[in-house]
Structure formats: structure tokens, C-alpha cells
């Protein structure tokens, strides 16, 4: 779900889109850093690491392959702090694995972190529900929405950069539909698990296993 390094730097419109993306990405990162508090630092670090490593696990899709992005989960847990977490992970991916690149870093941060923040506002409240099925459904929706929003932002910035990139944007968007399903399943399961073992990560009460009460010895 990233814009390939070098594809936009070749045209004037492309460079404008890159610059605008970098500016908005920097603003989001500044806001995220401002909102980062003691509790969120380790969370951001762990999720940043997970995002960084998840890029190595690939699902072959058509002529290309995609990997889990975990943006929905990051948004639910981190809120605005998703911006710095994703920026750091993308930077390290670019340096260590040569995925993406430095010129597209700002725009790619925006493409992935903005959907994460959107998920925070859209699903942050609903994920605190006391019903396990609802929690899973909300997690699924968050994971899938983040991927689809990211794909839409990706396609949108390619279209803004010029008509010649529109086709690429469409192909990328189409490839992300199956990924959204996988991402939804993973995010849903992780959110249910978190509610059962580490509910404080989601600022939510402990979710009891269905039909059973928790005994305090």
C-alpha cells in the first residue's frame, strides 16, 4: 500500500503531490508527537516494530504481492501517535529492506497513518463494547476500512499526480480489496484477544469470555 519510489518524482505534478504529502505527513507527525504520552510510547514502539516486520510476510496477489499493514489496529490503539509510529517504521523499511523510499516517505506516511487516525475516531468508541461478537466485527471493520481508505488515498494521489498514473492507481486499489478482508480478520482477532488479556491498551474494560465469569482468587 505504498507509492513506489521514483514513480512520481519524474513529473512536475508528481513532485507537487509528493511535497504536499510530505507537508501534511509532517504536520500529522508533529501532532502525534505532541499527543504522545508516557503510556503510549511503549505501545507506539511495539506497534511500530510489528508494522516494520509485517512487511516481510507477503501474500501473493496476482502479479504482485501484498503484506499486512496493521494500520487499523495501530489507529485503534495509538490514535494520532500512529503518525510517528508509521513514519519510523517506513523509514526503517526504506533503509533496511529498500521498500518504498526516502522521497515518498512523507506521502506514504500520510497514506497509511491518516486511515489509522480515521479508524480511531470511527471505531475507537465501538471497540469498547462488552459483546465479543461486536468487538470482532468492529475490529474487522477497522482493519478493512484502514486498508480501503489507504488504497483510495494511494489511488487519489496518483490521479492527482497525472492521468498517466490513474491506471496504476486503479490496479492497486483493486488488489487491496482481498487484502482488506485478510486485514479485517487479523485485526478483528487481535482486538478480541487484546480485550481479553490487555484491555487497557484500548482503554476498555476486560471482556469476559462468552457466558463465563472471571473469578478473582
Amino acid at each position: 500500500m505504498h507509492i513506489y519510489e521514483g514513480i512520481l518524482a519524474g513529473t512536475a505534478h508528481g513532485r507537487e503531490v509528493l511535497l504536499a504529502g510530505a507537508a501534511i505527513g509532517a504536520a500529522g507527525t508533529a501532532l502525534g508527537l505532541f499527543k504522545l504520552d508516557y503510556e503510549r510510547v511503549p505501545r507506539a514502539a511495539v506497534l511500530s516494530s510489528a508494522f516494520f516486520v509485517a512487511s516481510l510476510i507477503h501474500v501473493p496477489l496476482g502479479p504482485t504481492s501484498e503484506h499486512l499493514v496493521l494500520c487499523g489496529l495501530m489507529g485503534l490503539i495509538l490514535g494520532w501517535a500512529a503518525f510517528p509510529a508509521i513514519l519510523v517504521a517506513l523509514l526503517l523499511q526504506a533503509v533496511f529492506f529498500s521498500f518504498g523510499g526516502l522521497t515518498t516517505l512523507g506521502l506514504n506516511t500520510l497514506i497509511m497513518a491518516l486511515p489509522a487516525v480515521a479508524c480511531y475516531y470511527l471505531f475507537g468508541r465501538a471497540v469498547r463494547s462488552g459483546n465479543e461478537a461486536t468487538v470482532f466485527a468492529v475490529g474487522f471493520a477497522a482493519g478493512a476500512t484502514a486498508v480501503l481508505l489507504g488504497a483510495a488515498l494511494n489511488a487519489g494521489s496518483l490521479t492527482l499526480a497525472g492521468k498517466q498514473f490513474r491506471e496504476i492507481g486503479m490496479v492497486v486499489a483493486a488488489l487491496h480489496v482481498p487484502l482488506a478482508g485478510i486485514e479485517g480478520l487479523v485485526t478483528g482477532s487481535v482486538v478480541v484477544l487484546l480485550r481479553k488479556v490487555r484491555p487497557e491498551l484500548l482503554d476498555a474494560p476486560l471482556l469476559a469470555s462468552s457466558g463465563q465469569e472471571i473469578r478473582h482468587g
Binding site: I3, V41, F52, V53, P60, F96, L193, K196, S209, G217
Partner: protein, 204 residues
């Protein structure tokens, strides 16, 4: 108390979570030489036939992709596509630099240049005059020597391929290094948060 002897549901859930994490770590280790959408192209000429292959990181063949050959003036001088193994063959019509461009259609692409010097003199030249630094007298050499040269070229091509593979491998130390950076950065942010808290304490 009986409850004390029974593991709590929370304990079971934590155990489950640990097992999940272990499984996930296992999957990550298995998937480490993973394919990525990073595409690579490699080619060499044998006679007038350019042979090459396109693959994703980790030597996963890039199947059924269009391969275009561009001359130094930017004109398309040949077109083919990769087969099921990601390999392609292209008959060179001119003795000039062939820039081979492969694109996956989603914005990922790669290119590789086959120099004019690798192509036989029998082909018509095109573009700027080609200078042969390597083999100016190739045509005048005895046939045995040409054959040896061919063998050496094939060996060098194989070596280059191997070198490229080596450079692309994602190593576990890259992964650990990246995670180390993240831990370090979180340490730095704790420092700055501490400074912020001290200041607000002082002003309060």
C-alpha cells in the same frame, strides 16, 4: 481456596496469547527470505539472443509481465513477456544499448541494461556510435578463443546474478537492527517526555 488451584480464565487467555505470539514469531522466521514487490531484472546476451529473467525479492519469478527493450534514443526496439518461470528471450535486431524495462502494472518496475558490446558485430548499429572497450578485435580472434570468451562471459553473468541475490537477501540482523532503532527512539522520546514533565512540575 478451590479457585486458587484452578487457573483463571485470564491465565488461560494469556497462555493462548503466548502460544499465538510464538506461532507468529515462527511464521515470521519462516517467511524471512520473503518475496516483496521489489522487482529485479537481470539479462545477458548470447549471440544476438538476449536472455534474462525477472523476479521479486527472494527469487520469486515474476510471471507473464511485459518486457520492453528501449534503445538509447528512447525508442522501443523489442517487446516480449516473461514466462511461468519469470524468464524471457528477446532477439536483438540492432547492435546498441538495450534498456530492458519490466513493469508489474501497479507501479513497481525494474530495468536492466544490456550493453552494445555484448551483442555481435553482425547486427546493424543504431544510436550513438558504440565503443568497444572490452573486445575491439573479437571478430579477428581465432575461433577457440571466442569460445573461451563465451564461457567466461557466462560465468561472470552467473556471478553477477549470485551477487545480486546476496545483496537482496533480507537478513535477520536487518530486522533486529530495525527493532533496535525503534527501542532506541522510544528511549529518546521517554527522555523528552521526562524533560516536559520536569518543566511542568517546576512551573506548577
Amino acid at each position: 481456596m478451590v479457585e486458587d488451584l484452578l487457573p483463571s480464565h485470564r491465565g488461560i487467555a494469556v497462555g493462548l496469547a503466548r502460544r499465538w505470539l510464538l506461532a507468529l514469531c515462527g511464521a515470521m522466521l519462516l517467511a524471512t527470505p520473503a518475496l516483496a514487490h521489489q522487482l529485479y531484472v537481470f539479462a545477458h546476451a548470447r549471440g544476438s539472443m538476449i536472455q534474462g529473467e525477472a523476479y521479486f525479492r527472494g527469487k520469486i519469478p515474476a510471471r507473464n509481465l511485459e518486457v520492453k527493450a528501449i534503445d538509447p534514443d528512447g525508442r522501443t526496439i523489442g517487446q516480449t513477456s516473461t514466462d511461468e518461470q519469470g524468464k524471457f528471450r528477446l532477439e536483438a535486431k540492432y547492435r546498441c544499448e538495450h534498456r530492458l524495462i519490466v513493469a508489474t502494472g501497479d507501479g513497481h518496475g525494474a530495468e536492466f541494461t544490456v550493453t552494445a558490446a555484448q551483442l555481435p558485430h553482425s547486427l546493424p548499429t543504431r544510436g550513438p556510435a558504440t565503443h568497444d572497450h572490452l573486445s575491439p578485435n573479437e571478430g579477428r580472434r581465432p575461433p577457440g578463443e571466442n569460445q573461451q570468451l563465451e564461457v567466461i562471459r557466462a560465468e561472470v553473468a552467473a556471478l553477477r546474478d549470485e551477487l545480486q541475490q546476496y545483496e537482496q537477501r533480507t537478513r535477520i540482523r536487518d530486522v533486529l537492527g530495525g527493532i533496535g532503532y525503534i527501542v532506541g527512539l522510544s528511549g529518546i522520546s521517554f527522555y523528552f517526555l521526562g524533560v516536559r514533565r520536569k518543566r511542568s512540575n517546576r512551573s506548577a
